[in-house]
């Protein structure tokens, strides 16, 4: 791909994993976007922060545990993961509860980051 065709893509995740298919579908599109050399970032807001909770055990619900995939994202040069501080706090979580290194941002900073994007994908 030639220089200059890369756009800023942000994937905004606001749903918990497993209850609906949104979280898994988001990951699929993230990986596709990364394969096309886009400037990809992920934001986790509201129940979306539960996607990153450490220690998911899905054997009992006979569903694939896709949470290890978040750790593999850096292998695809997807390294910008943002979590909203207010959403973490509202769920009694801290950065130490998350499966992967993230940047924790306040609502205001996250809003500014969203404003800078060329395209926003909501899940």
């Amino acid at each position: 791909m030639t220089e200059g065709t890369s756009k800023k893509f942000m994937f905004v995740n606001r749903t918990a994993p497993y209850g609906t298919v949104y979280a898994l579908e988001s990951l699929e599109v993230v990986l596709i976007s990364a394969a096309f050399d886009q400037d990809v970032s992920l934001a986790f807001i509201d129940d979306g922060v539960y996607q990153l909770k450490k220690g998911q055990q899905t054997k009992g619900i006979e569903t694939k545990n896709f949470s290890p995939t978040y750790r593999a994202l850096e292998g695809y040069d997807v390294e910008k993961l943002y979590v909203e501080r207010e959403s973490l706090a509202a769920r009694g979580l801290t950065e130490a509860d998350l499966i992967v290194d993230v940047t924790v941002l306040g609502s205001r900073e996250l809003g500014q980051l969203i404003e800078e994007q060329d395209a926003i994908f909501s899940f």
Binding site: Y22, G111, I114, E115, A119, S122
Partner: protein, 98 residues
């Protein structure tokens, strides 16, 4: 930028999340989110306060379908489908708060 909301503010937190995070800009309420544009709901105060930071629009066909077009909050602009298209065209980007 344009923020599109399509869920009732009384059932889901999409409106609250948008108001908490979004930078000042335009909000378009469609489908069940048009209830947020109406007087007398538990969310009216939040919407009135948001009018200081956002231009708030609501899709008229969705208001009419739900029989609430006669109770739109002062300051909220109603738009038709071509107005919806204009909003998308005049903003650099848009985000759907599902």
């Amino acid at each position: 930028m344009l923020h599109i909301i399509n869920k009732s503010p009384l059932e889901r937190n999409s409106l609250d999340a948008c108001l908490r995070i979004a930078e000042p800009g335009t909000i378009l309420l469609i489908e069940d989110a048009v209830y947020a544009a109406t007087r007398g709901t538990a969310t009216e105060t939040r919407v009135r306060e948001a009018l200081a930071r956002f231009k708030i629009c609501a899709l008229l066909p969705d208001l009419e379908a739900r029989a609430v077009a006669d109770r739109v909050i002062d300051g909220v602009t109603t738009v038709d489908y071509s107005g919806f298209v204009d909003l998308v065209a005049e903003n650099r980007s848009c985000q759907s708060w599902l």
